[in-house]
Structure formats: structure tokens, C-alpha cells
Symmetry: C2
Subunit: 371 residues, 2 copies
Amino acid sequence: MPGQVSNEQILFTRGVPAIEALPNHLLSECLQAALEGPDGKAVLQYGHNGGYLPLRQLLAEQYGATTDQVLVGNGSLHLQDILAGMLVKAGDVVFVEQPSYDRAIKTFRRRGARVIGIPLEHDGIDLAKLEQAIAQYKPVFMYVIPDFQNPAGVTTSTEKRQALVNLAERYNFWLLEDIPYRTLRYSGESLPLLRDFSKERVITISSFSKLISPALRVGYLVGPTSLVQQLTKLAEETILAPVLPTQAAVVEFHKRGYFASNLKNLKQLYSPRLAAIAQSLKTYLPEIPVAVPEGGFFISLTLPKQASNENIVAHAREAGLILTDGRDFFAEPLENEDADQGTRFVRLPFCALTPEQINEGVRRLATLLSK
Amino acid sequence: MPGQVSNEQILFTRGVPAIEALPNHLLSECLQAALEGPDGKAVLQYGHNGGYLPLRQLLAEQYGATTDQVLVGNGSLHLQDILAGMLVKAGDVVFVEQPSYDRAIKTFRRRGARVIGIPLEHDGIDLAKLEQAIAQYKPVFMYVIPDFQNPAGVTTSTEKRQALVNLAERYNFWLLEDIPYRTLRYSGESLPLLRDFSKERVITISSFSKLISPALRVGYLVGPTSLVQQLTKLAEETILAPVLPTQAAVVEFHKRGYFASNLKNLKQLYSPRLAAIAQSLKTYLPEIPVAVPEGGFFISLTLPKQASNENIVAHAREAGLILTDGRDFFAEPLENEDADQGTRFVRLPFCALTPEQINEGVRRLATLLSK
């Protein structure tokens, strides 16, 4: 009942897992097994600089790669950071989807990149605009989130995946695909990875933050051997080795079948939350077009033009609704693109809220807009 | 008996803890307590971006600081990396002791610094040469390891600590004191921290790698509030948050009194190893002057001039003795300083070897030199 939540703040901010879904008891058991087992002292010692070898083996098998094509680090953001540090020279251009993950944009900029946003449509990047951008710039890499994109919720179609890879091969830039949400599909069928179209031009990054726990900070990267070797050396020089006991726990989590059962639980918890937000948007904001995703953490919308001059975030806060500033998700636009889209962009992460909180949150948002 | 080890390789290379000393059972218990306790889900969730708050509180108390003066990260090397990223602009000068920790020299260089080595004496830096260097350069910071220095084993005297801080205050540079070995004192009394002379000009870095386990990668930094706040923001942008369950385990490790008992065990294990290496050097290399440390992981020596042209590392390898290339520990020398000292410098980490291995290793080294 909406009444139960009417006075509390509703946080449509960060894409965090539901706290009740974090498998602390199972992980406790897995950590115990890792530390009491035959590798118990090895996972506390120096070594395993590119990540705990059994985890690299598990991932290599999963991605049809060799272990020297897999690097495991302390979360995927840090892998993005050192990768950008390796690939980007000051002033180099990097493409991202527009909108894109705010922290990735920031990271690439901090490493010296000029970050250009290529408009994202309901089925992935606008290819005509990407070609236009390629004619103008020579990107070092393009960063994409093909499944249940952060922040838009969009999934790139198979055709556009193939086209992206073709362009990357023709114009010699890296494709960095970030797929932390991919496995959280509540309906429909998985599409191929970009990696499935080219193992030479694609670097795949993911993590267990959304699938097991964020604070484990177990992220990984799969790519061509020479690039991964170079990056592993740089990672060693930067952090020596990643934290190992937690990586060993992730291996145990798989071995014991907990990964599959936990994933099932997550889907059972999150799927009704996606249904709730889709329904609430239909109920309270029927005039705004929304593409409902088949998985992940996010749904997004673009408010009508007349809302563009309002300070949405501040007004929402007064109404007990906490939103992320939409502008954070927007990089430098292409020429002739609307530079103010961010002010009307709203990301709604739905996994850490109950259906009641979701309903109340969307109701408040609609009230704001009708003012 | 030396005979027992005569055919195996002796690794006088990295400063690693003895594997048998890694407290895997105790840590397993602590991780379990952390994950099954009231904070069990919170230590798996996003949040605690500057480190697990109870650990920051514990360290703040230990160092007479406030929690916002403490940042906990994934190992101290990464904290050195982001600190250098924050403080160093391309071409800036950084001072280190000559010799110094090879990875620190590399890190500062990768962040754009020109790294100048100030000669280290048996009681700390050569102050006259430091003053000469200050007259010539304007360092952003000076990096020192005042206790049981890596690689030399030297401990800086109280007088020189005070003098260093005076110079840092007078000439406005940061002092970065790295103290991972400080607590491993086998005899004698602890000297004051540099921090004890100035909380405004000193940044203290340390970790639990040598005191509990390296692969926990729990490192921390204590410094002035404004600097730590800036650095915490940069850390969040780089890694989001550090790995938390391991930090929560470190808190439990203290709460249960395991830190004290484990430290006692480490000293009981390592102290005879220090005695063994001191005795072996006296026996086999009596003509080479050696300063025996009162703690830590390292003892070092400088071979006589006539050894300078030999490729010590390669010859040692043939004799089954693995050494680190001494040149790695040397930064750019001051004018008129010997640029080839590194070729004659030998670091001997003694904690991960038995007294028998130590004796045999030093015997082999002596044989090499008598050739």
C-alpha cells in the first residue's frame, strides 16, 4: 500500500543491489572453505598477481578464453581506470553511448581523454551518428554497455552489435563492452556478446557486484592476450595483487552451486520490481514514452521539453524523492546535438526498492511534472 | 644442518612473510564473525568508500587522529599511487632515500615525477646531502621508510626524524612515511613516528600485509583532514570502495586479541632468523661491514668495489641463489654521487627462510665473492 511509504524518502539514486539479497551466510561459508582448505595459506600470501588462478580458470572457461586473457582486479571500475591509463594519451578521443555510466565518463576524462557521446536509441547506438563521429574523430576506444545499459536500460540489438564490431575493425579502435547486468535477464533471450563477433577488437569487462556482492569488489576483464599481459603488468605495478580471499570465495560460491541458486533468487526478487516500475510509469506518466527493459537495474525516461528549465533534482528532493542529476550521464555531445538533454534525463534504478516504494516514487515524480 | 638445503634454490628476493605464519584459521573465524554478525550484509554492500568505518575508528584511535584523517584502501601501494597521482605534476621532483623501495620509485615515476635519491646512512638520511638537494630542487614530497627500511634495513635515529620534519616544515614539502615493518621490532625500543613531530607535514602510510596477511591488501593512510578528504574523493572515483569483508575481518582480528598473539608469534619466528643471518654474515663475510637491524624483514650489504663489474644476480643464479637486482632500489643520484652503487648492493630478506636456508644462502654468496 502506498500509504505505508508516503512519508519516507524514496531513493532513485545509485544502482545498488537490494541489501536483503546479499548472501552473507553463503559467503561466510565460502570464505571459511577457502581459508580452511588446501589453498588456505596461499590465498593469504603474495602471488596470483593477475587474480586468483582458479577464478581466472573459471572465467576463461566461461568466456572461451585462455587464463592469460583474463585479469581479475578489485572491481571493474579500477580495471577501467588502469585500462584507460594504458590506452589513452592526453587529448585522445574516447566514444561512449549518450547517456553513459557517469563514473566511466569521469574516469576516462581523468586519464586525459576527450569523451564524446554518441546518441543512444532504443535498440543501441545511432549508427549513422557513430559513422559521422568516426569521420570527425579517431577514437582510441568506444565504451558500451550492451545489456540493460546504465543509465538508460537499453539493450543493443544483435544487428547493431555486429555493426559496431565491423566499424571497430574497419577503423581500428577498441570496443570496451561492460556487462555487469547481462546475467540479470528477467525475460527474453540473451543476445551475443560483442566478443562473440571479434576476440581481437573487443575487451569485455564485468564483475560480481550485481550478481553476488558489491563490496567483494571482484571485477574482471577478458581480452586479447598481449593487451591483457600488458595490463596485468600495469596492475601489478599499481596494486601488486588484488585481494585474494574474496576471489577464492567467489570460486567456492560457484563450486557449491550457490551462484546459480543466488541468481535465481535475485531474479525472483527483482523481476516484480521491474514490473512494478513499468506499471507505475504507465499509470502516472502515460504520456511519456518508456522502453521497458528485460533485465538489469535501470529504466529511464526523458521529460518533455517544457521541463527542461526546471531544476528537477532539487524539486524532487523537496518532494522526498532523491534523483541523480541527469547531466552526470552525458558526455560532450556531437555537433548539432542537444546539449541540454541531461537536464531532462531521469534514471530510475528499481532493484533496491520495494514495489510500494517504487509506486510512491513514480507518483511523486508525476506530481512534480504536473505542477 | 646446511646439508639439508644444499641442493635447493635459496630465494633472497621479495620481502614476503613466512607462509607458515599466515593465520588462515584465525582469519576464517574473523571473516565468519564479520559476515554472520549485525553488519554482515552492510560489509557486502556499497558504502564505506573511505574504508570500513570501524577499522578507520580503530586506526584513528591508534594514531591519535580523527576518522576523517584515515583512509583505508586495497594495500598501501595503491594509496601511494593515488597520492602521487594527486600531488605530482609531470616533471615535479620527489626525494627518496637512496636506496629505496623499488615499487615506490616506479610508482612515483609512472605518475610523472623525477625521483632523486638522497644517500642513506646507518642512522637515516645524510642530512647535509639532503640540504644540498633542497638547495638544488624543490621536492613535492620526500618518501621515507624510517623503521627497518626496505631495502637497507636501516632505522632513522630520533634526531634525524626531528631534523627531517624541520626541513619539511621550513621548505614546504610533504613527508610521506611508510611504516609497514615498524611493529615487527625484535629488540630495542620504538622511536617516535615522524607524525609525532608534525601532524601537518607528515602523511603516514602502513598496512597489515606484514602483520596479518599480504593478500588481504588492507593498507591505510593517516594525514591532515583536507588532504585525506581530497584523496578519499579520488579513491572513490578510482575504485568506488575498497574490498570490505577483509577489512571487517581485520577489525575482528583486533577485537578478539588475535592481533597481539599473532604479532608475538611472528616475532618468535622471525627473531631467530635475524640472528641467523647476522651470524652467517659474520661467519662467511666478516670483512664486509653490516648494520644489523632490530626488526623488520631486511638486512643489506654493499659488496667491495672490485665486485662492481660483475653481474652479481646472474652469477648468484648459477649458484642456486636468487637475488633481486640491486639497481632496482636506486633512483637518480645526486651530483657527484656514485651512479653504480646499485650493482654492488645486495638486499637479503630473511623472514621467509629457515635459519638453515639462510646459512646456506650466505655461504653461497661468500663463495661467489671469493672467486
